[in-house]
């Protein structure tokens, strides 16, 4: 059964996790990721709202109104999980105890700058916990649709106000897996249904495409 593009991206991101990782997932597409974490891989999900060990959403009749994720969705707690206040929660985040954070973006650029909190003159959402997470998590993965209705989201330089400076490590989209390096944006994988020309056309930023670029595949 073919995956839709959102689940394709979610599964490719899940494949980047290692045993023992502590992972924080943003709202939107990243919430699909838990369904794709291989059984047997021990990944601890952190919610910045004060929880470690988030489990799947409960059946409606088993909701505990005090257990929810940072997007406000009902959740469960896995055995070995724990609850704490926001100072402890962001102490864990700021202290570097979250290995990976995965979140969406309005814009990302060649230096790894990320903008996702406002569109000048249009939208003002706020930082929430994103700024702490992308500044302090050991690895920052952006998971998103490659374009916004055809308009590029990956730039040489972000024009929106930044959520974080030089923080993004990897960008995973429906078209490619791109690594942010000191040399620039290096395309490591291209989706099977995407050509190099399509990828370049959908990206404002200069891309480095090595000879050994791989086809993006998921198990």
């Amino acid at each position: 059964m073919a995956l839709d593009w959102r689940n394709f991206v979610a599964r490719r991101v899940a494949m980047l996790f290692k045993d023992g990782d502590v992972v924080n997932l943003g709202i939107g597409l990243p919430t699909l990721i838990p369904n794709h974490i291989p059984a047997g891989l021990k990944v601890t999900l952190q919610g910045e709202n004060g929880v470690l060990g988030l489990g799947p959403a409960p059946p409606l009749h088993e909701i505990n109104k005090d257990v929810f994720d940072a997007g406000g969705a009902w959740a469960t707690l896995n055995p070995g999980g724990s609850f704490f206040d926001s100072a402890v929660s962001f102490g864990l985040i700021r202290g570097g105890h979250v290995d990976i954070t995965v979140l969406g973006a309005l814009q990302v650029d060649r230096e790894g700058n990320l903008a996702n909190w406002m569109v000048p003159g249009k939208l003002m959402a706020g930082y929430g916990g994103a700024m702490d997470l992308i500044t302090c998590a050991k690895k920052v993965i952006v998971a998103m649709e490659h374009t916004n209705k055809g308009d590029p989201k990956i730039f040489n330089k972000c024009s929106f106000p930044l959520t974080g400076a030089k923080c993004v490590d990897i960008i995973v989209t429906n078209m490619a897996l791109i690594e942010v390096t000191d040399e620039g944006l290096v395309v490591r994988e291209i989706a099977p249904d995407t050509t190099v020309e399509q990828l370049k056309a959908a990206t404002e930023a200069d891309l480095i495409i090595p000879d050994d670029v791989k086809v993006m595949t998921v198990y």
């Binding site: 929810f68 206040d85 962001f90 930082y127 700024m131 702490d132 974080g164």
Partner: protein, 216 residues
Amino acid sequence: MGKLMSVLEAIEPIKDGDTILVGGFGPMGYPGRVMRAILKQTELKDLFFVANAANQNYLVALEKLLLTRARGMIATFTRPSAAAEKLYKEGKLEIIPQGTFSERIRAGGAGIPAFFTPVGFGTAVEEGKIKMTIDGREYIMEKAIKGDVAIIKASKVDLEGNCFMSGCTKNFGALMPAAAKYTIVEAEEVVKPGKIDPELVTVPGILIDAIVKVGA
């Protein structure tokens, strides 16, 4: 007089111009009963709110107070909120990162006037703030937040004010009482002292001034 009182007695000490810290992560842990009383049963004005979020759908009393009776707000996420948009355009809304928000409140309660954090460096958050390079990395200095009043919600409270906040409802309400001069807690369950396990006290009673029991 004991700490258990009516909502009107509890909010009586609040004054025009006060800075009010409001607990809750979205609707979870948000003290809706006390906030509604401030909206509907007082004419308090020029209030300054410190709350994680504004949200016109879930935090209705706060939204209405922000629209007409607030001189400003500190928050981390304010969508959707027409009131927050209005304050933002007027330069009266300070949006800060959630970890910095939490830590500034904790600092306010813990006698730490300021601390350094890497969060916000290289963004609009750093504007106007003292910067320092410490052990080779760059940081910005953030100052404590203190309030006149904290309004929080607990899952259970005893008559001395000891609060238990269940699961993810601890969030910011657990930090605010220490940072405020006067704290009101609302709870559906009020018990005798000793009925909350001493290992499960989220906020010690010495930080609580007023307890309001709300219907379950």
